[in-house]
Amino acid sequence: MLVSEVNNLTNYISMLVEKYGNGRQALIPVLQEIQNRYGHISDVAQQEIARLLDIHPVEVYGVTTFYHFFNAKQRAKYNIRLCKTISCDLANKDGIARTLERELGIKFGEITSDERFSLEYVSCVGMCDQGPAMLVNNEVYAKLTPRKVVEILDELKVR
């Protein structure tokens, strides 16, 4: 990372620590904000957070790897998470999965070469009555059909 990038990051984290407090309880809200802004939590960010909250870097690492929604690697612009749990599975989530893979040209767990889309599975998102359902970043799309999925992707591609 460039020195200027590191400085910006440090300033941003300092501001967050001021907002949420400098105790351990602030860790997860701070990580969430960094994840939202940068799309991932870099090595340097983890070390800086540790320094400012007076905890060990490996403890931050332990927390970021525990929770599913924190990424160490840069995420795509649109992170698509398809629910794979039972009710969506019964409602044919496999068909939706195949559609997504086909339309984006990648498999689950991968990211498109232009870094616009990534695909992953996620556990029950609470839309079991309207499955199959998926999250795109923080937005939820339910009652999916292959045709609807294509429409959604088309809309995201030009957004």
Binding site: D43, V44, Q46, Q47, I55, H56, P57, V58, E59, Y61, G62, T65, F66
Partner: protein, 625 residues
């Protein structure tokens, strides 16, 4: 004298999350309970495990360790409590009501056996190629519970790569049972924070920041994690093969220096209870194995006292006479390489407070390949210098780039107590029954002051025995030279010694209270350094800090297992051995006098002393990326 703000009265460590078990506020209340049908009256709030151990009822444990806070994650110590559907972990369930406990019911037996079967199904490696064969807690429980087949399958291929990067510690996570003892040791007990559980569920593993090799993160090599690991997942880097090679090579002159702490503890590796010093027997064993010379590290411990004591007095003179504002006081001891790395990483700005004196091991390394080589008429290139240490950090220390003042690598190999015990067994020798023999000349004698370096407070006591007499001309005013304020196991201790009627050349110390502190375990070192940062220690002159709890007798290379009781017994052995010696003060050691007369002619802190016996440090800082 030790009841100060540093010492935590409730526990001997800070707590990571997941404390539970200890309900505070005993205040003399008791509870009537039943264990296995028999009635007992126990203090309110203790855990079931403690209650059972008080009555000598056996409950197996794996993640529980007396030095660490309770986790309750391995689920081996489960017991059945009447009226509760689920089994409870006895290490964490505190007794606050009359309950009926069953420690050997069918459910308990089956549960413990199932949990063992699960652990074994996930554990890669055969016992006979493992460092801990015969001393492994998982192996012991498997035998006790009659495990005789792989109920849930077995791991055929290693899943993780072995981390061999560090000079001192090797991590093999294939054998890890995720008891989290190493995590609690490194984070709570030592306040270093190198290891933590990472990922979730079945993918959980114990690793370092960003999963980097140990050498690339802020590990201080203290090895306390090895002492507490129940399996062979953590072990020291083994140098025994290279040492055998040197011994077997007729062209090499192999010398070994032995430290007092391994001598006080090595008996445990042969089945003796802790607290028996086998110094004489060890000398015989080493000669039988083929070492050409056996020296006593206490000799250079005495030398360290001369060098470091002089350095302190010079700093005091600079402060009190020259009124130099830049003089670095308090002076911090420098013989613990784990502590050195700790301060280099976490408090690099205070590195100049360290004494520049090397540790006894490294001083000996330099002296052997210069002075001894001269006296014995041997080419230093043919000398292989080995040390027996209770310490894993010494393996790193002897490889530090600065440690070559003799022109060659000063100490070639540092062996831990455990490694040497295994070598002795490999040579077919049963140590405890050997006849005693002496150390070899020209370093055959050492004082008791050098010997007590092994216990926490020992360096301070040795330094005071010499410094006080040097300054006042009288021995320290303590009966039998036992400076009891220095002794004991409390984390941070503080005391002072009043200097009066001093000799004329030390007149600037007349009426001065020499204030000193002692800390052991890096968590306590952290407390001291934080106090130093806050400016609270401006009137302290000298601080002894040892990285390992208990001092060197609790070092990372000492026999496993460890506990406060065991460390106390080893310390007692050290003090007893000191009392039995004819010479108890470093400056009275005739060999010390000899080396200053013949070799280090400018005296302590002179030019040659600085070249050979002093070193410098690196301001590392704690940034990893």
């Amino acid at each position: 004298m030790t009841d100060n703000a540093f010492n935590n009265k409730t526990s001997n460590s800070q707590q990571t999350s997941n404390n539970g078990g200890q309900v505070s506020g005993n205040n003399g209340k008791t509870v009537d309970i039943e264990i296995d049908g028999r009635k007992y009256n126990v203090p309110y709030g203790i855990s079931i495990l403690q209650a059972c151990r008080m009555q000598k009822i056996n409950i197996p444990t794996l993640c529980f360790h007396p030095d660490l806070c309770v986790t309750g994650s391995c689920r081996i110590c489960l017991v059945e409590i009447e009226g509760m559907r689920t089994l409870q972990a006895s290490c964490s369930y505190s007794i606050t009501q009359p309950i009926k406990i069953h420690t050997t019911s069918e459910k308990v037996r089956k549960a413990r056996r199932t949990i063992l079967d699960l652990m074994i199904s996930d554990h890669y490696g055969e016992c006979y190629t493992c460092e801990r064969n015969g001393n492994c807690q998982l192996q012991k429980l498997a035998k006790e519970y009659g495990v005789d087949y792989y109920r849930f399958g077995h791991v055929e291929e290693p899943f993780y790569e072995i981390d061999n990067s560090s000079y001192a510690i090797v991590r093999d996570m294939n054998k890890c049972i995720l008891c989290r003892r190493c995590v609690r040791t490194c984070t709570d007990l030592q306040a270093v924070g190198v290891l933590e559980a990472v990922n979730r569920g079945y993918d959980t593993k114990i690793t370092t920041f960003l999963d980097k090799p140990l050498e690339e993160v802020i590990c201080i090599n203290c090895g306390q994690c090895i002492n507490r690991c129940p399996t062979g997942a953590l072990k020291e880097k083994d140098s025994s093969d290279e040492v055998w090679q040197a011994i077997d090579n007729p062209k090499k002159h192999v010398v070994i220096q032995t430290a007092p702490s391994p001598r006080a503890a090595i008996g445990e590796e042969f089945g003796l209870p802790p607290g028996n010093s086998l110094t004489g027997e060890l000398n015989t064993a080493l000669k039988m194995m083929g070492f050409d010379r056996v020296f006593d590290t206490n000799f250079t411990a005495d030398l360290t006292i001369m060098e470091e004591g002089t350095e302190l007095l010079l700093r005091l003179k600079s402060a009190l006479v020259d009124k130099n504002p830049n003089v670095k006081l308090p002076q911090l001891t420098s013989c613990s390489p784990g502590w050195i790395k700790f301060i280099e990483y976490f408090y690099p700005e205070y590195v100049d407070h360290l004494s520049t004196a090397k540790s006894p091991q490294q001083m000996f390394g330099a002296v052997i390949k210069t002075f001894y080589a001269q006296e014995a008429n041997i080419d230093p290139k043919d000398i292989v210098s080995v040390s027996l240490m209770p310490c894993t950090a010494k393996k790193y220390e002897c490889n530090r780039p600065e440690m070559n003042s003799s022109g060659l690598k000063d100490v070639d190999f540092a062996l831990t107590t455990r490694e040497l015990a295994q070598m002795i067994k490999e040579a077919g020798i049963y140590l405890p029954e050997l006849p005693k023999s002496t150390f070899d000349e020209p370093f055959g004698e050492a004082s008791g002051a050098g010997l007590i370096f092994g216990a926490t407070g020992g360096v301070m006591e040795a330094a005071l025995r010499t410094a006080y007499e040097l300054v006042t001309g009288r021995p320290v005013p303590f009966e039998n030279l036992d400076i009891t304020p220095c002794r004991g196991m409390e984390g941070v201790r503080q005391a002072s010694v009043h200097l009066e009627n001093v000799k004329p050349e030390w007149s600037f110390l007349e009426g001065v209270d020499l204030n000193f502190m002692i800390a052991h375990g890096t968590a306590n070192a952290k407390k001291v350094m934080e106090a130093l940062k806050r400016g609270e220690l401006s009137n302290i002159h000298f601080i002894e800090i040892m990285a390992c709890p208990g001092g060197c007798i609790g070092g990372g290379g000492e026999p496993i297992p460890t506990s406060l009781e065991i460390r106390k017994k080893r310390a007692e052995a050290i003090y007893k051995e000191d009392e039995g010696l004819p010479i108890r003060k470093s400056h009275e050691n005739p060999h010390v006098k000899y080396i200053y007369e013949k070799f280090l002619t400018e005296g302590p802190c002179g030019h040659l002393s600085h070249k050979l016996l002093h070193t410098s440090y690196v301001k590392r800082g704690s940034y990893i990326v």
